[in-house]
Symmetry: C2
Subunit: 236 residues, 2 copies
Protein backbone atom coordinates (compact mmCIF):
# COMPACT_ATOMS: atom_id res chain seq x y z
CA UNK A 1 0.00 0.00 0.00
CA UNK A 2 1.33 3.40 -0.98
CA UNK A 3 0.26 6.83 0.24
CA UNK A 4 -2.51 8.27 -1.93
CA UNK A 5 -1.49 10.55 -4.79
CA UNK A 6 -3.86 12.46 -7.07
CA UNK A 7 -4.58 10.33 -10.12
CA UNK A 8 -4.34 6.99 -8.29
CA UNK A 9 -7.06 4.48 -9.09
CA UNK A 10 -7.70 3.67 -5.46
CA UNK A 11 -7.95 5.72 -2.30
CA UNK A 12 -8.73 4.82 1.30
CA UNK A 13 -10.65 5.81 4.38
CA UNK A 14 -8.68 6.61 7.52
CA UNK A 15 -10.51 5.65 10.68
CA UNK A 16 -13.29 3.48 11.95
CA UNK A 17 -16.20 5.84 11.34
CA UNK A 18 -15.65 6.59 7.63
CA UNK A 19 -14.79 2.93 7.07
CA UNK A 20 -18.17 1.90 8.44
CA UNK A 21 -19.91 4.57 6.35
CA UNK A 22 -18.19 3.29 3.23
CA UNK A 23 -19.04 -0.34 3.97
CA UNK A 24 -22.67 0.61 4.53
CA UNK A 25 -23.04 2.89 1.52
CA UNK A 26 -20.83 1.61 -1.28
CA UNK A 27 -19.62 -1.88 -0.30
CA UNK A 28 -19.14 -2.80 -3.99
CA UNK A 29 -16.14 -0.49 -4.36
CA UNK A 30 -14.25 -1.76 -1.30
CA UNK A 31 -11.13 -3.71 -2.21
CA UNK A 32 -9.56 -4.35 1.18
CA UNK A 33 -10.17 -3.61 4.84
CA UNK A 34 -7.08 -3.31 7.01
CA UNK A 35 -7.19 -2.95 10.78
CA UNK A 36 -4.74 -2.33 13.59
CA UNK A 37 -4.44 -5.17 16.08
CA UNK A 38 -5.64 -2.89 18.88
CA UNK A 39 -9.01 -2.31 17.16
CA UNK A 40 -10.75 -4.95 19.20
CA UNK A 41 -11.26 -2.49 22.04
CA UNK A 42 -12.95 -0.05 19.64
CA UNK A 43 -16.72 -0.13 19.58
CA UNK A 44 -16.64 0.28 15.82
CA UNK A 45 -14.97 -3.11 15.40
CA UNK A 46 -18.11 -5.20 15.64
CA UNK A 47 -20.01 -3.30 12.89
CA UNK A 48 -16.93 -3.57 10.66
CA UNK A 49 -16.76 -7.33 11.18
CA UNK A 50 -20.48 -7.73 10.50
CA UNK A 51 -20.40 -5.59 7.36
CA UNK A 52 -17.31 -7.33 6.01
CA UNK A 53 -18.84 -10.76 6.57
CA UNK A 54 -22.02 -9.65 4.85
CA UNK A 55 -20.11 -8.43 1.79
CA UNK A 56 -17.48 -11.20 1.78
CA UNK A 57 -14.60 -8.86 2.45
CA UNK A 58 -11.64 -10.27 4.33
CA UNK A 59 -10.26 -8.20 7.22
CA UNK A 60 -6.49 -8.00 7.28
CA UNK A 61 -4.59 -7.10 10.45
CA UNK A 62 -1.56 -5.06 9.49
CA UNK A 63 -0.25 -2.43 11.89
CA UNK A 64 2.55 -1.35 9.60
CA UNK A 65 0.19 -0.32 6.79
CA UNK A 66 -1.97 1.63 9.21
CA UNK A 67 1.02 3.39 10.73
CA UNK A 68 2.35 4.24 7.30
CA UNK A 69 -0.87 5.67 5.92
CA UNK A 70 -1.86 7.43 9.14
CA UNK A 71 1.41 8.43 10.78
CA UNK A 72 -0.29 10.49 13.50
CA UNK A 73 -1.74 7.36 15.05
CA UNK A 74 -5.24 7.09 16.45
CA UNK A 75 -6.44 5.27 13.34
CA UNK A 76 -7.61 1.70 13.72
CA UNK A 77 -9.14 0.86 10.36
CA UNK A 78 -8.59 1.61 6.70
CA UNK A 79 -10.71 0.57 3.75
CA UNK A 80 -9.13 0.70 0.33
CA UNK A 81 -11.67 1.59 -2.35
CA UNK A 82 -11.79 2.05 -6.11
CA UNK A 83 -12.16 5.64 -7.22
CA UNK A 84 -15.68 5.77 -8.66
CA UNK A 85 -17.83 8.02 -10.75
CA UNK A 86 -21.07 9.32 -9.32
CA UNK A 87 -22.68 11.84 -11.64
CA UNK A 88 -25.20 14.27 -10.21
CA UNK A 89 -28.78 13.06 -10.50
CA UNK A 90 -31.22 15.52 -8.93
CA UNK A 91 -31.94 19.10 -9.97
CA UNK A 92 -30.78 20.80 -6.80
CA UNK A 93 -27.06 21.27 -7.08
CA UNK A 94 -24.33 22.74 -4.96
CA UNK A 95 -21.67 24.09 -7.31
CA UNK A 96 -18.20 24.88 -5.99
CA UNK A 97 -15.96 26.89 -8.26
CA UNK A 98 -12.27 26.19 -7.58
CA UNK A 99 -12.47 24.98 -3.98
CA UNK A 100 -8.97 24.31 -2.67
CA UNK A 101 -9.19 23.40 1.01
CA UNK A 102 -9.50 19.71 1.87
CA UNK A 103 -10.85 20.16 5.37
CA UNK A 104 -13.44 22.65 4.18
CA UNK A 105 -14.52 20.27 1.44
CA UNK A 106 -15.19 17.53 3.96
CA UNK A 107 -17.22 19.84 6.19
CA UNK A 108 -19.20 21.06 3.19
CA UNK A 109 -20.05 17.50 2.19
CA UNK A 110 -21.27 16.67 5.65
CA UNK A 111 -23.35 19.84 5.79
CA UNK A 112 -24.86 19.08 2.36
CA UNK A 113 -25.97 15.71 3.62
CA UNK A 114 -27.37 17.39 6.71
CA UNK A 115 -29.62 19.60 4.62
CA UNK A 116 -30.61 16.94 2.12
CA UNK A 117 -28.40 17.94 -0.81
CA UNK A 118 -26.94 14.95 -2.64
CA UNK A 119 -25.42 16.51 -5.74
CA UNK A 120 -22.15 18.36 -5.73
CA UNK A 121 -20.59 19.91 -8.83
CA UNK A 122 -16.93 20.88 -8.64
CA UNK A 123 -15.37 23.21 -11.20
CA UNK A 124 -11.64 22.64 -11.81
CA UNK A 125 -8.98 23.55 -10.81
CA UNK A 126 -10.07 22.17 -7.49
CA UNK A 127 -9.19 19.99 -4.57
CA UNK A 128 -9.19 16.24 -5.21
CA UNK A 129 -12.23 14.94 -3.36
CA UNK A 130 -10.81 11.43 -3.17
CA UNK A 131 -7.85 12.56 -1.10
CA UNK A 132 -8.02 10.67 2.21
CA UNK A 133 -7.98 14.03 4.04
CA UNK A 134 -11.26 15.01 2.37
CA UNK A 135 -12.78 11.59 2.98
CA UNK A 136 -11.82 11.83 6.64
CA UNK A 137 -13.09 15.40 7.07
CA UNK A 138 -16.39 14.42 5.47
CA UNK A 139 -16.77 11.68 8.10
CA UNK A 140 -17.84 9.41 5.28
CA UNK A 141 -20.50 11.80 3.92
CA UNK A 142 -18.67 11.71 0.59
CA UNK A 143 -19.93 8.17 -0.07
CA UNK A 144 -23.55 9.32 0.12
CA UNK A 145 -23.08 12.14 -2.36
CA UNK A 146 -22.82 12.36 -6.11
CA UNK A 147 -19.86 14.46 -7.11
CA UNK A 148 -19.17 15.51 -10.66
CA UNK A 149 -16.20 17.53 -11.90
CA UNK A 150 -16.31 19.96 -14.83
CA UNK A 151 -13.44 21.76 -16.47
CA UNK A 152 -15.28 25.05 -16.55
CA UNK A 153 -18.45 26.64 -15.26
CA UNK A 154 -19.61 27.14 -18.85
CA UNK A 155 -19.41 23.41 -19.55
CA UNK A 156 -21.59 22.76 -16.55
CA UNK A 157 -24.10 25.53 -17.28
CA UNK A 158 -24.61 24.29 -20.85
CA UNK A 159 -25.74 20.94 -19.52
CA UNK A 160 -28.19 22.43 -17.02
CA UNK A 161 -29.80 25.47 -18.64
CA UNK A 162 -33.09 24.78 -16.83
CA UNK A 163 -31.70 25.36 -13.34
CA UNK A 164 -32.09 28.76 -11.71
CA UNK A 165 -28.58 29.83 -10.79
CA UNK A 166 -27.87 31.52 -7.47
CA UNK A 167 -24.26 32.70 -7.32
CA UNK A 168 -23.29 33.69 -3.77
CA UNK A 169 -21.28 36.90 -3.92
CA UNK A 170 -20.22 39.53 -1.39
CA UNK A 171 -21.85 42.15 -3.62
CA UNK A 172 -24.80 39.97 -4.57
CA UNK A 173 -27.93 41.77 -5.79
CA UNK A 174 -30.41 40.27 -3.33
CA UNK A 175 -30.07 39.26 0.26
CA UNK A 176 -30.64 35.65 1.03
CA UNK A 177 -33.64 36.25 3.27
CA UNK A 178 -35.49 37.76 0.30
CA UNK A 179 -34.96 34.82 -2.02
CA UNK A 180 -37.99 32.63 -2.52
CA UNK A 181 -37.19 29.12 -3.40
CA UNK A 182 -37.87 27.51 -6.73
CA UNK A 183 -37.79 23.78 -7.46
CA UNK A 184 -34.72 23.35 -9.60
CA UNK A 185 -31.65 25.35 -8.83
CA UNK A 186 -27.92 25.53 -8.42
CA UNK A 187 -26.29 27.30 -5.47
CA UNK A 188 -22.92 28.49 -6.65
CA UNK A 189 -19.99 29.34 -4.38
CA UNK A 190 -16.50 30.56 -5.19
CA UNK A 191 -13.02 29.82 -3.94
CA UNK A 192 -12.13 30.15 -0.23
CA UNK A 193 -10.05 33.29 -0.64
CA UNK A 194 -11.24 34.96 -3.81
CA UNK A 195 -14.94 34.06 -4.04
CA UNK A 196 -16.68 34.20 -7.42
CA UNK A 197 -15.40 36.69 -9.97
CA UNK A 198 -17.71 39.50 -11.06
CA UNK A 199 -18.84 37.74 -14.25
CA UNK A 200 -20.96 35.45 -12.11
CA UNK A 201 -23.36 38.26 -11.32
CA UNK A 202 -24.74 37.72 -14.82
CA UNK A 203 -25.32 33.98 -14.66
CA UNK A 204 -28.39 34.22 -12.45
CA UNK A 205 -29.82 35.82 -9.31
CA UNK A 206 -26.78 36.78 -7.26
CA UNK A 207 -27.21 36.44 -3.50
CA UNK A 208 -25.43 37.82 -0.46
CA UNK A 209 -25.53 36.84 3.19
CA UNK A 210 -25.72 40.03 5.25
CA UNK A 211 -22.99 40.34 7.84
CA UNK A 212 -21.18 43.04 9.77
CA UNK A 213 -18.32 45.03 8.34
CA UNK A 214 -15.98 43.70 11.00
CA UNK A 215 -15.07 40.71 8.85
CA UNK A 216 -14.24 40.58 5.15
CA UNK A 217 -16.38 37.55 4.56
CA UNK A 218 -17.81 34.49 6.24
CA UNK A 219 -15.73 31.42 5.75
CA UNK A 220 -16.76 29.30 2.81
CA UNK A 221 -18.22 26.34 4.64
CA UNK A 222 -20.17 28.69 6.93
CA UNK A 223 -21.62 30.57 3.92
CA UNK A 224 -22.61 27.28 2.33
CA UNK A 225 -24.16 26.03 5.55
CA UNK A 226 -26.28 29.15 5.83
CA UNK A 227 -27.19 28.97 2.15
CA UNK A 228 -28.32 25.36 2.41
CA UNK A 229 -30.17 26.05 5.63
CA UNK A 230 -32.15 28.82 3.93
CA UNK A 231 -32.86 26.96 0.70
CA UNK A 232 -33.85 23.73 2.44
CA UNK A 233 -36.06 25.49 4.97
CA UNK A 234 -39.31 23.65 5.48
CA UNK A 235 -37.90 20.40 4.12
CA UNK A 236 -37.24 18.76 7.49
Amino acid sequence: MKKYKKGDEVSYTLGVFPTIELLKTRPEIVKRVIVHDSIEQNRGYEPIVTLCEQHHIEIEVHNQTINKLSPKGNCFAIAVFDIYEAPVSSLQHVVLVNPMDMGNMGTIMRTMLGFGYKDLVVIRPAVDIYDPKVVRASMGAIFKLNVQYYDSYEDYALEYPQLVKYPFMLDGAKKIQDIECVDDYALIFGNESSGLDSTFSKVGQSVFIPHSQEIDSLNLSMAIGIGLFHFSSGKF
Copy 2:
Protein backbone atom coordinates in the same frame (compact mmCIF):
# COMPACT_ATOMS: atom_id res chain seq x y z
CA MET B 1 10.26 33.29 24.79
CA LYS B 2 8.71 30.00 25.77
CA LYS B 3 5.88 28.12 24.10
CA TYR B 4 2.52 29.09 25.54
CA LYS B 5 1.12 26.98 28.36
CA LYS B 6 -2.30 27.35 29.95
CA GLY B 7 -1.97 29.64 32.95
CA ASP B 8 0.81 31.78 31.48
CA GLU B 9 0.42 35.52 31.92
CA VAL B 10 1.24 36.26 28.30
CA SER B 11 0.30 34.67 25.00
CA TYR B 12 1.07 35.56 21.40
CA THR B 13 -0.35 35.89 17.92
CA LEU B 14 1.13 33.72 15.19
CA GLY B 15 1.11 35.39 11.82
CA VAL B 16 0.86 38.76 10.18
CA PHE B 17 -2.93 39.06 10.01
CA PRO B 18 -3.78 38.44 13.69
CA THR B 19 -0.79 40.58 14.69
CA ILE B 20 -2.24 43.52 12.76
CA GLU B 21 -5.68 42.90 14.25
CA LEU B 22 -4.20 42.92 17.74
CA LEU B 23 -2.21 46.11 17.14
CA LYS B 24 -5.31 47.80 15.78
CA THR B 25 -7.70 46.63 18.46
CA ARG B 26 -5.83 46.32 21.74
CA PRO B 27 -2.42 47.97 21.31
CA GLU B 28 -2.18 48.61 25.06
CA ILE B 29 -1.71 44.92 25.86
CA VAL B 30 1.10 44.32 23.34
CA LYS B 31 4.44 43.72 25.01
CA ARG B 32 6.66 42.85 22.06
CA VAL B 33 6.46 42.43 18.30
CA ILE B 34 8.88 39.94 16.79
CA VAL B 35 9.30 39.45 13.06
CA HIS B 36 11.18 37.10 10.73
CA ASP B 37 13.80 38.78 8.58
CA SER B 38 11.97 37.69 5.44
CA ILE B 39 8.84 39.68 6.41
CA GLU B 40 9.82 42.64 4.24
CA GLN B 41 8.34 40.94 1.18
CA ASN B 42 5.01 40.49 3.00
CA ARG B 43 2.39 43.11 2.33
CA GLY B 44 1.42 43.06 5.99
CA TYR B 45 4.81 44.43 6.99
CA GLU B 46 4.03 48.08 6.29
CA PRO B 47 0.87 48.21 8.44
CA ILE B 48 2.78 46.50 11.26
CA VAL B 49 5.57 49.10 11.09
CA THR B 50 3.06 51.96 11.04
CA LEU B 51 1.04 50.59 13.95
CA CYS B 52 4.15 49.88 16.02
CA GLU B 53 5.49 53.39 15.45
CA GLN B 54 2.14 54.85 16.40
CA HIS B 55 2.08 52.93 19.67
CA HIS B 56 5.81 53.16 20.39
CA ILE B 57 6.39 49.44 20.15
CA GLU B 58 9.81 48.32 19.03
CA ILE B 59 9.96 45.66 16.32
CA GLU B 60 12.52 42.95 17.00
CA VAL B 61 13.87 40.77 14.21
CA HIS B 62 14.45 37.30 15.59
CA ASN B 63 14.07 34.29 13.29
CA GLN B 64 14.87 31.80 16.03
CA THR B 65 11.96 32.86 18.22
CA ILE B 66 9.57 32.70 15.27
CA ASN B 67 10.79 29.25 14.25
CA LYS B 68 10.50 28.01 17.80
CA LEU B 69 6.98 29.25 18.40
CA SER B 70 5.72 28.37 14.92
CA PRO B 71 7.69 25.30 13.91
CA LYS B 72 5.64 24.71 10.75
CA GLY B 73 7.06 27.85 9.15
CA ASN B 74 5.01 30.31 7.11
CA CYS B 75 4.78 32.69 10.07
CA PHE B 76 6.44 36.09 9.73
CA ALA B 77 5.26 38.00 12.77
CA ILE B 78 4.41 37.38 16.39
CA ALA B 79 3.02 39.81 18.92
CA VAL B 80 3.38 38.93 22.57
CA PHE B 81 0.44 40.21 24.62
CA ASP B 82 -0.69 40.26 28.23
CA ILE B 83 -3.59 37.98 28.97
CA TYR B 84 -6.47 40.36 29.64
CA GLU B 85 -9.94 40.34 31.10
CA ALA B 86 -12.85 41.46 28.96
CA PRO B 87 -16.15 40.90 30.73
CA VAL B 88 -19.31 40.72 28.61
CA SER B 89 -21.08 44.05 28.27
CA SER B 90 -24.16 43.77 26.05
CA LEU B 91 -27.29 41.72 26.63
CA GLN B 92 -26.98 39.41 23.64
CA HIS B 93 -24.72 36.59 24.63
CA VAL B 94 -23.37 33.49 23.01
CA VAL B 95 -22.86 30.90 25.72
CA LEU B 96 -20.68 27.87 25.07
CA VAL B 97 -20.90 25.06 27.57
CA ASN B 98 -17.68 23.04 27.70
CA PRO B 99 -16.28 23.77 24.25
CA MET B 100 -13.09 21.76 23.72
CA ASP B 101 -11.89 22.30 20.15
CA MET B 102 -9.44 25.14 19.55
CA GLY B 103 -9.99 25.45 15.81
CA ASN B 104 -13.76 25.46 16.27
CA MET B 105 -13.46 28.15 18.92
CA GLY B 106 -11.57 30.41 16.53
CA THR B 107 -14.13 29.91 13.77
CA ILE B 108 -16.95 30.59 16.20
CA MET B 109 -15.34 33.87 17.30
CA ARG B 110 -14.96 35.02 13.73
CA THR B 111 -18.55 34.09 12.93
CA MET B 112 -19.79 35.95 16.03
CA LEU B 113 -18.05 39.07 14.85
CA GLY B 114 -19.54 38.54 11.41
CA PHE B 115 -23.06 38.61 12.82
CA GLY B 116 -22.46 41.43 15.28
CA TYR B 117 -22.16 39.44 18.49
CA LYS B 118 -19.48 40.78 20.83
CA ASP B 119 -20.07 38.86 24.02
CA LEU B 120 -19.02 35.29 24.54
CA VAL B 121 -19.56 33.36 27.74
CA VAL B 122 -17.60 30.15 28.23
CA ILE B 123 -18.57 27.59 30.85
CA ARG B 124 -15.68 25.54 32.24
CA PRO B 125 -14.20 22.98 31.73
CA ALA B 126 -13.35 24.46 28.39
CA VAL B 127 -10.68 25.24 25.87
CA ASP B 128 -8.27 28.04 26.80
CA ILE B 129 -9.18 30.90 24.47
CA TYR B 130 -5.75 32.49 24.86
CA ASP B 131 -4.01 29.52 23.34
CA PRO B 132 -2.20 30.72 20.21
CA LYS B 133 -4.08 28.09 18.17
CA VAL B 134 -7.40 29.71 19.07
CA VAL B 135 -6.04 33.21 18.43
CA ARG B 136 -4.81 32.10 15.02
CA ALA B 137 -8.03 30.29 14.06
CA SER B 138 -10.02 33.37 15.07
CA MET B 139 -7.91 35.42 12.62
CA GLY B 140 -7.70 38.04 15.35
CA ALA B 141 -11.47 38.19 15.94
CA ILE B 142 -10.76 37.29 19.57
CA PHE B 143 -9.42 40.80 20.24
CA LYS B 144 -12.70 42.39 19.25
CA LEU B 145 -14.79 40.21 21.54
CA ASN B 146 -15.48 40.17 25.23
CA VAL B 147 -15.03 36.71 26.64
CA GLN B 148 -15.96 35.75 30.17
CA TYR B 149 -15.47 32.37 31.82
CA TYR B 150 -17.77 30.91 34.46
CA ASP B 151 -17.29 27.80 36.51
CA SER B 152 -20.84 26.63 35.95
CA TYR B 153 -23.89 27.51 33.92
CA GLU B 154 -25.77 28.20 37.15
CA ASP B 155 -23.24 30.87 38.18
CA TYR B 156 -23.76 32.56 34.86
CA ALA B 157 -27.55 32.31 34.83
CA LEU B 158 -27.78 33.82 38.32
CA GLU B 159 -26.06 36.95 37.05
CA TYR B 160 -28.31 37.33 34.03
CA PRO B 161 -31.82 36.31 35.05
CA GLN B 162 -33.32 38.89 32.65
CA LEU B 163 -32.03 37.24 29.48
CA VAL B 164 -34.29 34.90 27.54
CA LYS B 165 -32.34 31.66 27.26
CA TYR B 166 -32.32 29.68 24.03
CA PRO B 167 -30.53 26.37 24.53
CA PHE B 168 -29.80 24.70 21.17
CA MET B 169 -30.58 21.00 21.47
CA LEU B 170 -31.10 18.15 19.01
CA ASP B 171 -34.47 17.51 20.67
CA GLY B 172 -35.28 21.18 21.17
CA ALA B 173 -38.96 22.07 21.58
CA LYS B 174 -39.20 24.65 18.79
CA LYS B 175 -37.57 24.87 15.44
CA ILE B 176 -35.37 27.84 14.85
CA GLN B 177 -37.46 29.24 12.00
CA ASP B 178 -40.38 29.62 14.43
CA ILE B 179 -38.47 31.61 17.02
CA GLU B 180 -39.25 35.29 17.07
CA CYS B 181 -36.48 37.42 18.37
CA VAL B 182 -36.55 39.32 21.63
CA ASP B 183 -34.10 42.05 22.66
CA ASP B 184 -32.07 40.48 25.39
CA TYR B 185 -31.10 36.86 25.12
CA ALA B 186 -28.48 34.17 25.43
CA LEU B 187 -27.94 31.55 22.73
CA ILE B 188 -26.60 28.47 24.48
CA PHE B 189 -24.65 25.69 22.78
CA GLY B 190 -23.16 22.49 24.20
CA ASN B 191 -19.95 20.60 23.73
CA GLU B 192 -18.80 19.44 20.26
CA SER B 193 -19.53 15.78 20.83
CA SER B 194 -22.13 15.61 23.56
CA GLY B 195 -24.19 18.79 23.11
CA LEU B 196 -26.19 20.13 26.04
CA ASP B 197 -27.49 17.67 28.58
CA SER B 198 -31.25 17.26 28.95
CA THR B 199 -31.49 19.55 31.99
CA PHE B 200 -31.01 22.50 29.66
CA SER B 201 -34.46 22.01 28.16
CA LYS B 202 -35.76 23.61 31.36
CA VAL B 203 -33.62 26.72 31.39
CA GLY B 204 -35.51 28.45 28.58
CA GLN B 205 -36.97 27.98 25.11
CA SER B 206 -35.06 25.07 23.63
CA VAL B 207 -34.39 25.32 19.91
CA PHE B 208 -33.45 22.86 17.18
CA ILE B 209 -32.12 23.34 13.68
CA PRO B 210 -34.00 20.98 11.38
CA HIS B 211 -31.75 18.67 9.37
CA SER B 212 -31.89 15.33 7.63
CA GLN B 213 -31.51 12.04 9.44
CA GLU B 214 -28.41 11.23 7.44
CA ILE B 215 -26.17 12.98 9.95
CA ASP B 216 -26.26 12.80 13.74
CA SER B 217 -25.84 16.53 14.14
CA LEU B 218 -24.45 19.59 12.43
CA ASN B 219 -21.00 20.47 13.58
CA LEU B 220 -20.88 22.95 16.42
CA SER B 221 -19.54 25.97 14.56
CA MET B 222 -22.06 25.38 11.77
CA ALA B 223 -24.95 25.21 14.24
CA ILE B 224 -23.75 28.42 15.87
CA GLY B 225 -23.35 30.15 12.51
CA ILE B 226 -26.92 29.26 11.56
CA GLY B 227 -28.17 30.30 14.99
CA LEU B 228 -26.48 33.69 14.80
CA PHE B 229 -27.61 34.18 11.20
CA HIS B 230 -31.22 33.63 12.25
CA PHE B 231 -31.11 35.71 15.42
CA SER B 232 -29.29 38.62 13.77
CA SER B 233 -31.55 38.63 10.72
CA GLY B 234 -32.51 42.15 9.73
CA LYS B 235 -29.57 43.67 11.61
CA PHE B 236 -27.32 44.16 8.57
